[in-house]
Amino acid sequence: MSKKPTTKKTTARKPVRSKKSQKVISWKRADGRLFDELRPLKIESGVLPNADGSAYIEMGRNKILCGVFGPREMHPKHQAKPNEAVLRCRYHMAPFSVDPRRSPAPSRRDQEISMVMRSALEPAVFLERYPRASIDVYIEVLEADGGTRCASINAAAVALVDAGIPMKDLVAACAVGKIEDKLIVDLGDYEDKKGQSDMPVAYMPKLNKVTLLQMDGNMSAEENEKALNLAIEGCKKVYEVQREALKKKYGIDQPQDRPPKEFPPEEPAEEPQNEEGPE
């Protein structure tokens, strides 16, 4: 979904239920991926004209839009916090995003994901800079294919930066699961449903902190540790795509594209009066 015609082919098709498919030496998943391979990932920033910040993500066949508004006056006022901004996340799915069609009304799952998104993103945002304000993060899932909460967090982090909200770090998310006793990264819908375990993880790459950790299924303590490390590696890969998405909007991406050395020729008229020093 973008202004240019999309002729994107995705590799995640409905898997063939072959019982003897795992004879190859490097084990491949139903859609042909290796255990630590992410689905095709594309992120664009600044796609919604009316939002303060926005991002669009395609993670496998997931298509998710995120719009950020704020910091702005909090309504209703009695819910505002005196010392910091309130980060409000709303995860919502279009009725046509799943099969069969679902009602547009928010479900309990929607509310849970909204809440974990907030927990995943809050540690990265300088909320204390905007007392009594709200920062609203709205997710709209246009098409779902497994791992939407991770994809949503990935889009939200980019949208927050696009909105110019001061952040300590980005947040990247990736899920690890288990299928046929093997750990796999970035589960597709099929693997989500048929797998033995699902562990979504969100991570701040530069600060090296995990901000979201959920898990269901069945894992030994050893598997769990391996899975967490695998997830973090996956998050780091996502982070690179997020960084590119942010830079791409300004067309400055490689060192050689940097403007020539006679800088800076024109300084802004007023020196910034607001010295944001150390906290």
């Binding site: 530069k206 830079k247 403007p259 607001n274 944001e276 150390p278």
Partner: protein, 230 residues
Amino acid sequence: MSANFQDRDLVIPGDVVFEGRIRTGENTYRQQDQVYATRLGLVNYSPDNVNVVALSAGYTPLVGDVVIGEVVDIDLGEWKIGIGAQTEAVMGIPDAVDRPFRTDYIMTRILDIGDTLVAKIVDLDRRRTPILSILGPGLGKVYDGFIMRITPSKIPRLIGKKGSMINMIIRETGCRIVIGQNGRILISGPNREREEMVVKVVTKIELEAHTSGLTNRTQEYLRQLKERSQ
């Protein structure tokens, strides 16, 4: 001590722009030995300071700023004015009317909901709410023209060094232009064509604010627009 990027490199929040002792400027923060960027922008190194010029940021109200806003509510002797900041601004009657205060002033006769005004931030109260005043030259209710919005962080670029950019635009188009630090621009011209020229030029500046040679390119662009209209 090390600068991890080159001057004018694009950085994102979380990038470590400097390691060691240095004064931290705008859009950076320090954790122990490392200085991180907090916004997407171009990093700027000078001998005693590192800062990031943000490419995208909301408006943070500062005392002394001239802003353009709209009245959104009237309540208990105060107008509430939307200026695109994290909270609405307020203005009391003494800051709007120069004459001795009369308790039966009908506020809507001075400024009504939906009115646009150019005001100055005279104070930030203890809850960081901007307090506005329209007493002063160039301030007051706006009767003519229209408002254009751009990213607040691009405003300094639109003004230019000592006003060089904006004065050039005013001169070449003959339009009246008032710039609000909150990213709103009031434009009022002799005819619609001239006003549209200003819109085109400002749009171009907003897109290319982070590049060099902009004043010259803008002047050239304006010249072309004027030629085409002849």
